[in-house]
Amino acid sequence: MAKQDSTLHPRPGVAFLGMPAFTEAAHIALGDDQLRRNLGRATRTIRDKRTRAVGELEDWQDLRTAAAMIKDRTLADLDRHLEQFEAAATAAGATVHWAADADEAVRISTEIVRAHQGTDVIKVKSMATQEIGLNEAFAEDGINAWETDLAELIIQLGGDTPSHFLVPAIHRNREEIRQIFLDRMAEVGRPAPDDLTDEPRRLAEAARLHLREKFLTTSIGFSGANFAVAETGTLVVLESEGNGRMCLTLPDVLVSVVGIEKLLPTFADLEVFMQVLPRSSTAERMNPYTTMWTGVTEGDGPQELHIILLDNGRTRALADNTGRQALRCIRCSACLNVCPVYERVGGHAYGSVYPGPIGAILNPLLHGVSDEHDAALPFASSLCGACYEACPVKIDIPTVLIEQRAEVVEERADSGRPSAEALAMRIAAWTFADHRRLERAQKVASKAGPVVQHVRRLPGMLGGWTASRDLPPIPDESFHQWWERTRGADR
């Protein structure tokens, strides 16, 4: 099948907006052999490594439970924790801003840069700033935002969008990266060496030299935060390369965009999250570098700190009693690497900053399901449950998906729009074809209570496919279960 890269690797600015919905994007991705090879290898490697990193801790399940409960506790009292965070951070010398949506966060960011007559900012990889489209907005205002994470640099120079939380350029192989560096570095700073090979060590060296110049000359840094401590006003960023330390330490002015769900009540709570995040995400005992900073320290690091607390749909998710647990997410990407759907279609097909199983529930929670992208996402799953088992904060993704599918059906029924969920249909077929998947679906469906009826109705409402036939309802007992149960007795 022909590669259709341009459709799946949109340029920044039109990223995610011009994307085809999951159904269509998934078909394109499935035809991209290179993408599938890279992804397959990546997800397998990380998955195996993670199993070892997690298996090393005898108290892993205790840590998971504690992490989930700490997050739930924070969310159940979020208003108080936010006010406490603001007070502590302000007392330590930070300026705290509140942004109800992406536009407001962008406007505040732009004002801060303008107040310093800034033309350039350096950035450490941050999903929150991607979510609000900060780089694209800056570009329109003539402000250059330089990504400094190696993968983000590859993405930015290559003019496309990340496909994975953790290894965002996983869809690019070394030869493609070499070509991107040779073609593009010179346009925006120190050129790549002429004799650059595709050896990872040489490519990393080229990035080091290219970016060192920017680190030493740029006076404004932007970051997100992995955690924000209510008690102390502390922000925390975990990273590997040292580009984070550069952005958080060297500029005069630092702006951190922080989703309101990033809060933890106490500094001591980091004892749990500094264990579950590195092992779950990069599958290491600990990531190479973590920076924790509280306000401004005289003579050490940026002397002006702005923190932008971002809602942008999070309170919408928070209001959903079942879906609220998605806000526990610490963006480790473990669920991506165990997901059979993600492994085949890749991150771009989800059409969002947040791909994979967590993206499939988080996007509809943040935005609702009236949009076709968001409406298709709850179907981007086989309900196999591997994501739930891998999740270090125990987000029950399958249960949330079931509820959201029902929501989509209701929304479609109300609007009277024709639906063409071809992929959903294929996934349904795939689910029914394997007894383990079906059993998982049944287990989830039976846990979901009244929602079950909707789930049974759902396939029957699917456009053309159902015009000529009816979809069998999920049987109470699969053939496999019936066989398991009866073959002994019948003999």
């Binding site: 506790r73 969310l75 680190f215 330390r245 309101i260 004892e271 190479p288 309170t315």
Partner: protein, 214 residues
């Protein structure tokens, strides 16, 4: 300062908080069960041994040395690695530098980032070591200096007192003061962004040498 120029939108805080309150009105905070382990039950020698092994796993160079040997070992490490210049925090014990032949730059407020970029290495102490994860935590306390000096030069020679090594992450967090700038270091800078091949050294120090003082 220039912060005054930033117009803070009135009302957004109230709007977000009101939305939060509306969303969680029926939410009940669960109690948190902290049944995870807090210590490893190892003695000092056991902690030092595990810490040494785990730091080594990150491909850092580790040596366990006697306090009396420190001056000599530092000189050797710098000479072996052909480190011509080092920056040190202004309160570093001069006794540690007696055999150093490299150019020594004492940190001071007028030393710029660009100046630091011209220096080959840095020598510091540390606040806490975590045996289980092979992590060193710096807290900008005595003999550690400001964060930039351990970031820009390419080789970090870090001294960890055996008494400062704890077993677990919870033990380390309990020792730390959140109001100080903290840097957790687990091996040299690394990336796996290109086809998941681990490459040591991108932006931070590409070489980490750890001397454990017993």
């Amino acid at each position: 300062m220039s912060n005054d120029k930033i117009i803070k939108p009135m009302g957004s805080k109230e709007q977000v908080l009101a939305a939060v309150r509306g969303a969680i009105k029926d939410a009940v905070p669960p109690s948190v069960s902290r049944t995870y382990s807090r210590d490893l039950g190892l003695d000092r020698a056991g902690l030092v041994e595990l810490f040494t092994e785990r730091v080594g796993d990150y491909r850092a160079e580790v040596q366990v040395i006697d306090r009396d040997e420190l001056g000599r070992v530092i000189g050797n490490v710098l000479a072996d690695r052909r480190i011509h210049s080092v920056v040190v925090p202004d309160d570093l014990d001069p006794g540690w530098l007696t055999t150093v032949t490299s150019r020594v730059v004492r940190d001071s407020p007028d030393l710029t980032h660009r100046d630091l970029d011209q220096v080959d290495g840095v020598i510091t102490g540390s606040a806490v070591g975590i045996a289980l994860t092979g992590t060193i935590v710096m807290d900008a306390g005595p003999t550690q200096g400001r964060r930039a000096i351990t970031l820009i030069p390419d080789t970090h020679l870090c001294i960890v007192a055996a008494d400062d090594i704890v077993g677990t992450v919870p033990e380390a967090v309990a020792r730390l003061d959140a109001t100080r700038p903290l840097t957790w270091i687990s091996g040299p800078s690394a990336t796996s962004d290109i086809e998941l091949d681990r490459v040591e050294g991108v932006h931070g120090p590409r070489n980490l040498v750890v001397l454990i003082l017993t």
